[in-house]
């Protein structure tokens, strides 16, 4: 009897696993080749539309609880007056933290306003948005903002933050949008620097320096130089948006190009408020 049970269980295991693996591979193929993009992106959009309000609700509940426990004082066995004094100190520390946070937020908004007023983007319509989630995956440098299709955000829209370009919109739902940051390995931006020199700025991973490709060895580029979007015909970004600053330049013997790295101007690790530029792009 045991012998009959074991082969049946093995067959069941094999069948189940084969079906699941084939299903996974099929879904991956459909998603990657774009053959059923209307289905795969539609499903992702629907899931995000359903899930976003739930996540916001949970975050709204957990934040005060977290602050309560963070602010809980060690009552111990001290006298009542000492207890009251401790509570007072905690309350004052919270006020100071809140004030510091508000001050930091004010500075970030001021920088965002300065970027907003740049000639390259001041005339373009923009959608202000707040970052509600950072890096939903360890393998992708992205942020999620609280504005979506309903507010006029479109796929491919550039996103600016305090200091300069932050990235571009890669997925949109009705109420949220996912922004691929400059540092993401898939990010490639046409840039210009110096005297109308064109190049490509590539992301190399979260927290890593950006790589500038196709800089000829004869090109005069120096450390500290400002890099801006080039806005060539059909470009994904309007021209002239500050993006990064050169941090290192290396000439490699025998190579046709220089090895140039840069750091983003916007603080991508600490984004709170951004603006989505409603950029139609040149045809």
């Amino acid at each position: 009897m045991a012998r009959a049970v074991r082969p049946r269980r093995s067959r069941r295991t094999l069948t189940t696993v084969l079906v699941l693996v084939l299903l996974s591979v099929t879904i991956i193929t459909l998603d990657e080749t774009g053959r059923a993009e209307f289905f795969t992106s539609g499903v992702k959009t629907a899931a995000s539309d359903l899930y976003s309000p739930l996540r916001s609700g949970v975050n709204g509940v957990l934040d005060p609880i977290g602050r309560f426990f963070a602010g809980a004082v060690d009552y111990g066995s001290v006298e009542q007056e000492n207890q009251k004094l401790q509570e007072k100190i905690t309350a004052l520390e919270h006020e100071r933290t809140a004030a510091a946070s508000a001050s930091a937020m004010y500075r970030a908004l001021q920088r965002l306003l300065a970027t907003d007023r740049l000639p390259s983007v001041s005339a373009l319509p923009k959608v202000p948005a707040e970052v509600i989630a950072q890096n939903t995956s360890d393998f992708a440098a992205t942020v999620t903002v609280d504005k979506g299709r309903d507010e006029g955000v479109s796929l491919g829209d550039p996103v600016i933050g305090p200091g300069g370009l932050v990235g571009e919109v890669v997925t949109v739902t009705h109420t949220t949008a996912t922004v691929r940051l400059l540092t993401d390995g898939k990010s490639k931006i046409g840039v210009s620097f110096g005297h109308q020199q064109e190049a490509t700025l590539d992301g190399t991973g979260q927290g890593r320096a950006l790589q500038i490709e196709y800089v000829p060895t004869t090109s005069p580029v120096s450390k500290g130089e400002l890099i801006s979007t080039s806005g060539l015909q059909g470009a994904a970004f309007p021209p002239g948006i500050p993006v990064a600053r050169v941090v290192s330049v290396r000439d490699i013997v025998g190579a046709a190009d220089k090895q140039v790295t840069a750091r983003p101007l916007a603080d991508l690790a600490d984004l709170t408020y951004v603006e989505v530029v409603q950029w139609a792009g040149s045809s």
């Binding site: 045991a2 996974s24 879904i27 990657e32 996540r55 957990l62 992708a140 996912t178 993401d184 991973g205």
Partner: protein, 172 residues
């Protein structure tokens, strides 16, 4: 998997997904955050065997993929393979030995993260190999090892009938 255990499993997946995308994402060690969705197929494999591990891995993977910008289906594939491997290897051994679920979670989580990066690169997502893979592996593996015990108990509850059948089969 019975109907009742399927419903309980779906509830567990939904709750863990909610935790992952709210509280867990806030925890960052050198830029990497834990991935407790990966723990579900591991715990299911330990608690109930390879079929349940693979099935939970597929469901949890699809749920995670729907909310991330990475290829749809990739987490499902990795989850299926990890759940299958853990379920097949652990058999009756891990259920009887205390502490081994922690070791299994540590090793299989590390393997799963590396498998995810390699499969992603094969699919054209070459940037997966540009992240701080060692850091991500360490954070995910250690976090899952710490949570392995409660996770196995949770999946044992969710897969109640299946877990009992697996235990009985393992002890023969």
């Amino acid at each position: 998997m019975t109907g009742r255990s399927a419903v309980r499993t779906l509830v567990v997946v939904a709750l863990v997904l909610l935790a992952q995308t709210t509280i867990i994402l806030e925890i960052r060690v050198d830029g990497a955050s834990p991935d407790v969705m990966l723990l579900l197929p591991i715990a299911a494999g330990v608690a109930a065997g390879p079929v349940e591990g693979a099935t939970v891995g597929f469901v949890a993977g699809i749920a995670a993929d729907l909310l991330t910008p990475t290829p749809l289906g990739l987490s499902a594939l990795v989850g299926t393979l990890v759940g299958l491997a853990v379920g097949a290897i652990s058999g009756g051994v891990v259920r009887d030995l205390r502490g081994l679920p922690t070791l299994v979670a540590l090793v299989s989580s590390a393997a799963a993260v590396m498998l995810y990066a390699v499969l992603g690169a094969v699919l054209g997502e070459s940037q997966f190999l540009h992240v701080d893979l060692a850091g991500v592996v360490a954070v995910v593996a250690v976090a899952n090892a710490l949570l392995a015990g409660p996770a196995v108990r949770l999946m044992r509850w969710a897969l109640a009938g299946d877990a009992e059948r697996a235990t009985a089969g393992g002890r023969r």
